[in-house]
């Protein structure tokens, strides 16, 4: 059927056009990239509707070549939903951060910026849809290079150094991942997830090569944990997020690291099987790091005086939540992790442009004491900051609250020591989240002397559009959480 070719379109179109976009003038490149992303978003939405109507997953064999030589894409409800979310977030973040990007990126690099956005879109869609662990690796590296370029495209050598730090840490992760992948291939002889799952189940039943399988899974998990900035591998993150242009920070925090985590979930669930993942000890390794990330990331965020760095550090804690939910080792846990990916992505991608606008109306100062009253000077940004902060803290009616409910439910169902650890981490970190976000909220809405409290003009329309849509989606993720979770679970339950 024709619509079943949409997954190919989602990857090939942005990948092919990215090299053409590099040749265009900046204005044309901007229009082209926004067009491509809108088209992909619409296509992903249509794909989701059709998969939902079809009610089952399907695979696309690239070039009609079967296993083991061919590449395959696998689409179920979950993949279609994540593709839609990633594409939409990319479109909205670019809209919301467009004017700042225009100011901060030198004229001769603008086309490069849009090229990289298009490349990143292809890589994200491919990581989400691939059914093959090696294609996953290749697109992982494409996403890494694109992300590094997104950081250094901004003016100034500080961004260059942040980009270098980002690359170095990511290469360590890639190395571990590639080693795990090669060992997994030599152990199972398969690269496609369904076949790999069959072999690893046999290994688990046989028990003789369990040590080797554990080593593979731990290497794969650690590699992806390093790449997505799980504590203690997060040292590159604050600089990379706070020194790049706001649109790029949104893309990095909401898309790149989330795609890595989704690949992790997919490998554990579809490639190795949850029993092997739990038995091998990889789940415990990740769980311990995740709990540390949640607590220490929040404590680090409290200690910051710079608002952008605070928002960056809160990502460390939120990534911890996702890994913790996935490490519970149940399907419900993985579904909760996917929901948390959505909730956090939409909230964080809104926070970065909002914070940037608050900073802009405070004379470019990023420290808390200079931000007083900025919520009055930039009403929309203040409201968006409030919604994002409330969502991440876990106030009801917003996405973050539903995510925390789903994670607690999954932890409760999982039982045992993991339940106690997860619930304790959730409770402690919610308190810590409230401390740093509430403090910032009070600062933003406290009257200061330096500026008048009148709304500053010159708000670009694209910012209003982008941030407005983000706010709506955050509200929907809170109030329509049941529907979204239903789609995710439907996908995960038919994963083979």
């Amino acid at each position: 059927m024709l619509w079943q070719n949409i997954p190919i379109l989602l990857i090939v179109l942005p990948l092919g056009l990215s090299s053409l976009i590099a040749l265009l003038r900046p204005r044309a490149a901007k229009l082209a990239v926004l067009g491509v992303i809108s088209l992909c978003t619409a296509a992903a939405l249509y794909l989701l509707i059709r998969v939902n109507a079809l009610g089952e997953a399907f695979t696309v064999k690239m070039g009609e070549v079967g296993a083991p030589f061919g590449n395959e894409l696998y689409v179920s409800h979950t993949e279609a939903l994540l593709c839609l979310a990633f594409d939409a977030i990319m479109l909205l973040s670019l809209l919301a951060g467009m004017r700042r990007a225009d100011e901060e990126i030198p004229e001769d690099r603008k086309s490069l910026f849009f090229t990289v956005c298009s490349l990143l879109l292809a890589a994200l869609n491919a990581i989400t849809l691939t059914n093959d662990i090696f294609s996953g690796y290749v697109f992982l590296e494409i996403a890494t290079i694109a992300a590094a370029a997104l950081i250094f495209v901004r003016r100034g050598e500080g961004a260059l150094f942040a980009s270098m730090r980002y690359m170095l840490m990511n290469l360590l992760g890639s190395g571990l991942f590639l080693l795990g992948l090669s060992m997994m291939y030599s152990l199972t002889g398969e690269l496609l997830f369904p076949q790999m799952l069959r072999r690893s189940k046999a290994i688990l039943a046989d028990g003789r090569y369990m040590g080797a399988l554990s080593a593979c899974l731990i290497l794969l998990s650690l590699g992806l944990a390093v790449k997505s900035a799980l504590y203690p591998f997060h040292t590159w993150l604050p600089n990379a997020y706070s020194l790049s242009t706001p649109a790029a920070s949104s893309l990095l925090s909401s898309l790149v690291s989330k795609a890595y985590i989704f690949l992790f979930i997919k490998i554990m669930l579809r490639g190795a099987g949850l029993e092997a993942f739990s038995e091998s000890g990889a789940a415990n390794v990740i769980l311990v790091y995740a709990v540390l990330a949640i607590v220490i990331g929040s404590v680090d965020a409290i200690q910051q005086h710079n608002i952008r760095r605070m928002v960056s550090y809160s990502s460390v804690a939120q990534i911890g939540y996702i890994f913790m939910a996935a490490a519970l080792g149940t399907k419900e846990g993985c579904a909760a992790a996917v929901f948390q990916i959505l909730a956090h992505s939409f909230a964080k991608a809104m926070l970065f442009p909002a914070v940037d606008r608050l900073v802009e109306v405070s004379g470019g100062e990023e420290n808390f004491r200079d931000l007083r009253g900025s919520g009055y000077r930039a009403p929309l940004a203040g409201a968006a900051f409030a919604i994002g902060a409330f969502s991440i803290t876990g106030i009801p009616l917003l996405g973050g609250f539903s995510a925390k409910v789903f994670i607690s439910e999954a932890a409760w169902a999982a039982g045992g020591l993991r339940m106690y650890l997860a619930l304790a981490a959730l409770a402690v970190s919610t308190v810590l989240n409230v401390i740093y976000f509430l403090r910032t909220m009070i600062t933003v809405y406290r009257r200061g002397e330096r500026f008048e409290l009148k709304p500053a003009g010159n708000r670009p329309f694209s910012f209003t559009l982008g941030v407005g849509f983000f706010a709506l989606v955050n509200l929907y993720l809170g109030m329509g959480a049941g529907n979204v979770m239903d789609i995710i679970l439907r996908g995960i339950n038919i994963w083979n």
Partner: protein
């Protein structure tokens, strides 16, 4: 010890190379040496894949007339993976070297700690 060195020669070499590369990438201060470490780490993995892909006595998977029994040929997939992997690491090395050149032009040092120090002072 003898089995480790003789029977598992490839794996031993791979583990040694990977560890050397990984530690260099993680701990060395010099940016160029870090990139060398990265190449070494990736090449170790390609050696691993390539050595597993080769079976003594089998033919290269290129059909030139003659033998048609697939069991006489080696699996072409590992070689394909190595080739793809090499392309990936070459492009990553290229971008890392370009970044290093840019950093060196501005900071006049390759030591990552010294650069970090200067960046921190400039940020103030």
């Amino acid at each position: 010890m003898k089995t480790l060195l003789v029977d598992h020669m490839h794996e031993t070499a791979v583990v040694a190379l990977f560890c050397i590369g990984f530690t260099t990438l993680l701990l060395n201060k010099n940016l160029i040496k870090k990139i060398i470490g990265f190449s070494m780490m990736d090449n170790a993995i390609y050696l691993f894949l390539a050595s597993y892909g080769y079976i003594r006595g089998r033919l290269a998977p290129i059909y030139q007339g003659g033998e048609t029994d697939p069991a006489l040929y080696v699996n072409p997939l590992p070689a394909g993976l190595v080739l793809t992997g090499i392309v990936v690491s070459v492009s990553v090395s290229a971008i890392m070297l370009a970044l290093t050149v840019r950093l060196y032009r501005h900071y006049h040092t390759l030591n990552i700690d010294e650069i970090a120090e200067i960046v921190r002072e400039e940020g103030r």
